[in-house]
Symmetry: C2
Subunit: 201 residues, 2 copies
C-alpha cells in the first residue's frame, strides 16, 4: 500500500540513540539495548517476530538522514557505502538527506542510495515518485523523523518502547508540538512494547 | 497483597504534568489530556475501565509529594485539606513528603494525611507499618516517584502512555539511571496504552 510509514525503537525516556554515536557505536552508547527484539535477543517472542515482520516488510522507497547512512561528517568519503555491506536490507531506492553532493550508489539486491541536498520536501517528493504504489518509509534517525512529523506526511508510526532508560542521546520528539495519531494495535513481550499508531482521520 | 505499586499517566514524550502547575491547573497546562481515560472521556473503552480498576484498587497506605497534595508552598495554610473534598478516594493513611511540619488530618471514609519532614525513607517505613498486608502505593508526583525508584522499593509500575506530546513540564524519569522492570501486561485503547511493569526477579 502507498502509506508513508515510520518504525522506530525508542527508550522509555524517549531516546532513539544513545550519546557518543560513532563508527564503532552507530546507535550510541547503549543504543543497541533498544534493538534486541529484532536483532537476535534469545528472549524475543512471537510478538517480537510479528513486529519484525512489520519493520521488514517491503517498501517502495526510503528516506534517511546522513547520520543513519554513516558516521562520516563533512565531505564524503567515497568508499563509504552504508553500514549494511554489499546487499543492504532495503531492496529499493533510499534517499539520503545531506548537505554534500554525491553521485548515486547502486548495490546488490536493488538497493540504491541517492543523495539529496535540497531538504526534506525534495527528498519526500523524489521518494514518492520512486515508490509508485509501494509507499515510502521514513527510516530515521531522529532528526529525519522530526522533519517528517513536522511535514505531516506520516500515516502510520510504530514505536517499539524498550524498558530501558538511556538518560542521554537523541530524543525523538524534541520540538514536535503535536501528535495527531492514535494507537490502533499493540503487541508486547518482555523486551519491548510495540505500539502501532495511525494518523487521525 | 503487600506489593509496593505505582501507577502514573504519562505523555509519549515522558511528562507526567504540564508546565505552570497552579491551584486552577493542578496538572499543569494540558496535563489533564493524560487523564481522560479514567476521568470520563466518552471514548474510554473496556481496556481503560480495567486499567481504572487497577488504579483504584484499595491499598494499605499511600505516599505522595507535597505538590500532589496541594498548590501551597512554604508554610501550611491549615484550611487546605487536599484537592479531593471531604471524602478523598484513598480510604487509608496517606504520607505526604514536606519540609514543613503539620498535625495529621483525618477525613471521611478513612483517609488521613500525615506530614513527614524527614525524607522518603522515613515516609516509606511509616507507610509500610501502617499498610500491614495492604501494600503501599506511591501516588506521585514525579519527584516522589523518582525517590521511590532510586530507593528500589517499587515492585509494580504501571504507566498509561497517552498519545500526546506536552513538550514541557515534569519528566518522570529525569536523573533515573536504571530501570529494572519488564512489561508483563499491556492493555490499549485509542486514549492510551496501559503497560504494567514488574520488577525483575
Amino acid at each position: 500500500m502507498s502509506d508513508t510509514t515510520c518504525h522506530m525503537s525508542i527508550s522509555l525516556d524517549g531516546f532513539v540513540a544513545g550519546p557518543h554515536q560513532s563508527r564503532e557505536h552507530p546507535l550510541g552508547m547503549r543504543g543497541q539495548e533498544l534493538h534486541g527484539w529484532h536483532i537476535g535477543d534469545p528472549r524475543a517472542t512471537t510478538a517480537d517476530r510479528e513486529a519484525t515482520a512489520w519493520l521488514m516488510r517491503p517498501r517502495g522507497a526510503y528516506i534517511m538522514g546522513r547520520n543513519m547512512f554513516g558516521p562520516i561528517r563533512g565531505e564524503w568519503d567515497e568508499d563509504w557505502h552504508g553500514w549494511w555491506g554489499a546487499e543492504p536490507p532495503y531492496h529499493a531506492p533510499v534517499f539520503v538527506l545531506t548537505h554534500h553532493t554525491r553521485d548515486p550508489i547502486h548495490l546488490d539486491g536493488g538497493t540504491s542510495f541517492h543523495f539529496i541536498t535540497d531538504g526534506f520536501a525534495a527528498a519526500y517528493a523524489a521518494a514518492r515518485a520512486a515508490a509508485g504504489d509501494g509507499g515510502v518509509d521514513i527510516a530515521g534517525g531522529a532528526s529525519t523523523v522530526r522533519q517528517a512529523l513536522a511535514a505531516g506526511v506520516i500515516d502510520e508510526l510504530t514505536l517499539d518502547i524498550a524498558p530501558v532508560l538511556l538518560g542521554a542521546g537523541e530524543r525523538l520528539f524534541d520540538g514536535i508540538e503535536s501528535f495527531d495519531f492514535e494507537p490502533v494495535e499493540v503487541l508486547h513481550s518482555p523486551l519491548t512494547t510495540h505500539i502501532r499508531y495511525r494518523r487521525r482521520a
